[in-house]
C-alpha cells in the first residue's frame, strides 16, 4: 500500500461517513421523515471515495440518482444534504431538488441526476469549459451499469475522445440496472471493453477495494490533467440496499448479499490499513465516532431548518423573468 497516512485517514473518514449517513437515511425514510424516495449508496463507498481522493474542490463530478456518496466524497457538507432530503430551506438546493438532484456547484458537484445517462454529456461540457478556459480541472463522470447502455453515455465517451476532454468516466457496476442483471442488459463482457470503441483506456477494477480504485483513478486523472484525454474505469461493486428504499430485492439471493457483506469495503480497508501500520485502530474508532456525530449533527441541522413557503416554488426557475409569468 502506497497511501500516506493523511490519504488513508481521509479515505476511511469519508467511507464511514457515507455508510453512517446512508444507514441513517434508510432509518429516517422508514420512519416516514423523508418525503419522496431515495436510492442509497451503502456498499459502493470505495468507488466514490477512491476516485474523489484524487480530486480537488476545483474539479467537477457528475453523479447519478444514487448520489449521496458522491456528494460526501466530493466534500459536500452533510448538514445541507440532510436538510435537502428533508425538503427544508437550508438544503443544498433549498428543498427544490431532493435526493435525486442534490448538488453543490461550489464544491464541483454538478448534481445527482434523475435521468439514467443524463450526466455524461454534462461532464463533457464541464471538461470542455476547463479545457477552453485552461483551468487544468478534471471532470469525473460517475454512471451506473444501467447508464452504460444509454446512447448519451456512448455519445459522450466518443465526443470526449474526439475533443480529448479532461474527463474520467467511472462506471459503477453494481450488477443490476434496477432489477435487471448486467449479464442480461450488457452485450459486451465488460463495460470497460467499450473504451476501445472510443480509443481511450478502459480498465475494470475491484470496486470493493478502495486502494485499487484510488490507483486506477490516479492514473486516469493524471492523464486527463496532462491533456491526454478521457479514460473509462469500470468498478465492480454491490449495493447493500435495494434499487430504492422499499425495493424488496427479490432479484438477489440472501447468500449473494451475505457474501458481499463478508467482504465489506470499509472493514477490509480498515483491517489492511491497521495491519500495515498506516492507521491505528484508534484512528478507525475515532473516524467512526466522528461519522456518527457528524450525521447526528446533520439530522439535527436538517430538522431545525424551516420548511419552505409554498410560494417559494416560484423562484429560481430563471435568473431573470417576469414573476407574473412564472406564477400563471
Amino acid at each position: 500500500m502506497e497511501l500516506t497516512r493523511d490519504t488513508a485517514l481521509w479515505i476511511y473518514d469519508r467511507m464511514t461517513m457515507i455508510r453512517v449517513f446512508e444507514e441513517r437515511v434508510a432509518k429516517l425514510f422508514a420512519e416516514g421523515r423523508i418525503p419522496g424516495f431515495v436510492h442509497l449508496y451503502a456498499g459502493e463507498e470505495a468507488v466514490a471515495v477512491g476516485v474523489c481522493a484524487n480530486l480537488t474542490d476545483d474539479d467537477y463530478i457528475t453523479s447519478t440518482h444514487r448520489g449521496h456518496g458522491h456528494c460526501i466524497a466530493k466534500g459536500v457538507d452533510p448538514g445541507p444534504m440532510m436538510a435537502e432530503l428533508f425538503g427544508r430551506v437550508d438544503g443544498s438546493c433549498k428543498g427544490k431538488g431532493g435526493s435525486m438532484h442534490i448538488a453543490d456547484v461550489s464544491k464541483g458537484m454538478l448534481g445527482a441526476n434523475g435521468i439514467v445517462g443524463g450526466g455524461p454529456p454534462l461532464a463533457c461540457g464541464a471538461a470542455l469549459a476547463s479545457q477552453t478556459l485552461g483551468t487544468n480541472a478534471v471532470t469525473v463522470c460517475f454512471f451506473g451499469d444501467g447508464a452504460a447502455e444509454q446512447g448519451t453515455t456512448h455519445e459522450a465517451m466518443n465526443i470526449a475522445g474526439v475533443w480529448k476532454l479532461p474527463v474520467v468516466f467511472v462506471a459503477e457496476n453494481n450488477g443490476f440496472a434496477e432489477s435487471t442483471p448486467v449479464g442480461y442488459h450488457c452485450a459486451a463482457s465488460t463495460i470497460a471493453d467499450r473504451a476501445s470503441s472510443y480509443a481511450i483506456p478502459g480498465v475494470t477494477v475491484d470496486g470493493y477495494d478502495v486502494v485499487a480504485v484510488y490507483e486506477a483513478a490516479a492514473e486516469a486523472v493524471a492523464r486527463a490533467r496532462r491533456g491526454d484525454g478521457p479514460s473509462l474505469i469500470e468498478a465492480k461493486t454491490w449495493r447493500y440496499f435495494g434499487h430504492f428504499e422499499g425495493d424488496q430485492v427479490t432479484y438477489r439471493t440472501a447468500e449473494q448479499s451475505a457474501a458481499y457483506r463478508e467482504h465489506d469495503p470499509l472493514t477490509y480497508f480498515a483491517t489492511q490499513a491497521v495491519e500495515r501500520g498506516v492507521l491505528g485502530r484508534d484512528d478507525i474508532d475515532a473516524a467512526d465516532r466522528r461519522a456518527v456525530s457528524t450525521v447526528d449533527a446533520a439530522v439535527a441541522f436538517g430538522e431545525a431548518s424551516p420548511h419552505p413557503r409554498p410560494e417559494d416554488a416560484l423562484t429560481d426557475v430563471y435568473v431573470s423573468y417576469p414573476r407574473e409569468e412564472v406564477r400563471s
Partner: protein, 345 residues
C-alpha cells in the same frame, strides 16, 4: 452588400444571415467565454487546409468566417451527436462558458430533448438557484424549402411550454442581431429560432453592438381595426395582409412578440384593448401552441375588450408535407390572414 446612401450612417442593409453572423462575431469579440459548437458550424475539421478555415460555416453559411477569426477552439465542429454536444453545452454553461450551440434543424430536438428539457431547463431550479445556464441554442425552423417532415417544423411552442427556457423568434435582420446579442448575454438558457427562408431577407441593421431586450414585443405596424399577432416569417405575411386590407380602408395593427418566453403580454393586451379584435398567425402546428396560448391569454385578460372571437391562422395539425402544392397549402397564407381579419370585423 449595397450601402443605401439615404440610410442613417449608423445603419446599413444586411441580410438576416449577415446580421446573425455579425451578432455572433461581436459577442465573441466582447466575451472570450462565448464559444460556438454544432455540426459543421465551421466544417472540414482536421482536413488539411482547413485548420483555420471553414468548409461550410454552417449548413446554410450563417457562421461562415468566424473560425478564421476565433479559431477552432472557439468554433467547434461536433460529431452528429446532438445529445452529447447539446448536453456538453449545458454542462459548459453551468461551469463558466457561454456556449452558442447550433441544433441544425429544430426537428432534431427529438434526439437530444433530455439534455435540453431535463438538464438545461431544470438545472437551475433543481439546484435551488445555485447555478445558472447561460446557453443559447440556435436552430432552424420553417417550411417552404421542400425539406419535408423532419427538417421543416417550427416547434417553438414545444420549448415555450418548458419552464426554465426562454424562446426567441426574430422576424427582421435588426431584431435577429439585437435579440441574439441579448440571448448570449442572458444568464438563462435561450432557444433562438431562425427561419431558414429568411436568411436572405434584408433590412436596415444598426452598426456595432446593439441589444434588443428579451420580453419586449414590437408593433410592426399600427392600426385600429384588428390586432394581428404574428411571429417569425409570419410577420412579413401579416404586413402584406395589412397592405391589402389598407386598400379597403381597414388598418390592422401587426404585433410581433419577438420572444415567446417571456411573452410581452402587456403590449399584446394593449393592442387588443385598442382594436377589440385578435388574429394570431403562427406557422407552428395548432394544438397547445403559441396561437392558442395567446388567444387564451387574451380571452382571459381582455374579454371585455373583444368585439369578436379570436381567430387563429396556423399550420394544420399535420407534419410538413413534401410536394410543393401540399407544402404551400400547409403554410399560412396572406389570403387566409386577410380572411381571418375580415371574419373579426
Amino acid at each position: 452588400m449595397t450601402l443605401v446612401s439615404e440610410a442613417p450612417s449608423t445603419t446599413r442593409t444586411l441580410s438576416m444571415r449577415q446580421a446573425i453572423n455579425e451578432a455572433l462575431r461581436l459577442e465573441m469579440e466582447r466575451d472570450a467565454t462565448v464559444i460556438l459548437m454544432g455540426e459543421d458550424v465551421a466544417g472540414g475539421a482536421t482536413v488539411p487546409g482547413f485548420e483555420q478555415d471553414d468548409a461550410w460555416g454552417g449548413v446554410l453559411g450563417v457562421t461562415k468566417g468566424l473560425v478564421q477569426e476565433f479559431g477552432r477552439r472557439r468554433v467547434l465542429d461536433t460529431p452528429i451527436s446532438e445529445s452529447a454536444y447539446i448536453g456538453a453545452a449545458v454542462g459548459a454553461a453551468a461551469t463558466g462558458l457561454r456556449p452558442v450551440a447550433e441544433l441544425m434543424f429544430v426537428d432534431f430536438f427529438g434526439v437530444c430533448m433530455d439534455q435540453i428539457f431535463n438538464q438545461g431547463a431544470k438545472l437551475r431550479y433543481m439546484f435551488g438557484g445555485k447555478a445558472k445556464v447561460p446557453l443559447v441554442i440556435r436552430t432552424m425552423i420553417g417550411a417552404g424549402m421542400g425539406a419535408a417532415g423532419q427538417h421543416s417544423g417550427c416547434h417553438y411552442s414545444v420549448f415555450t411550454h418548458m419552464p426554465g427556457l426562454k424562446t426567441v423568434v426574430p422576424s427582421t435582420p435588426a431584431d435577429a442581431k439585437g435579440l441574439l446579442a441579448a440571448s448570449i448575454r442572458d444568464d438563462d438558457p435561450v432557444l433562438f429560432f431562425e427561419h431558414k427562408l429568411m436568411y436572405d431577407v434584408t433590412g436596415e441593421v444598426p452598426e456595432g453592438e446593439c441589444v434588443v431586450p428579451l420580453g419586449v414585443a414590437d408593433v410592426k405596424r399600427e392600426g385600429d381595426a384588428a390586432t394581428v399577432v404574428a411571429m417569425g416569417r409570419m410577420v412579413s405575411f401579416a404586413l402584406d395582409a395589412a397592405e391589402r386590407l389598407a386598400g379597403d380602408g381597414v388598418q390592422i395593427e401587426v404585433v410581433d412578440p419577438r420572444t415567446l418566453s417571456p411573452l410581452d403580454s402587456d403590449t399584446l393586451l394593449a393592442s387588443v384593448h385598442k382594436t377589440g379584435r385578435l388574429v394570431v398567425v403562427d406557422e407552428d402546428n395548432p394544438r397547445c401552441s403559441m396561437a392558442t396560448d395567446i388567444a387564451a391569454m387574451v380571452a382571459m385578460q381582455a374579454f371585455d375588450s373583444l368585439d369578436a372571437p379570436p381567430q387563429l391562422v396556423t399550420a394544420p395539425h399535420t407534419p410538413v408535407p413534401f410536394a410543393p402544392e401540399m407544402e404551400n397549402f400547409y403554410i399560412p397564407s396572406v389570403e387566409r390572414i386577410v380572411a381571418a381579419v375580415r371574419a373579426t370585423l
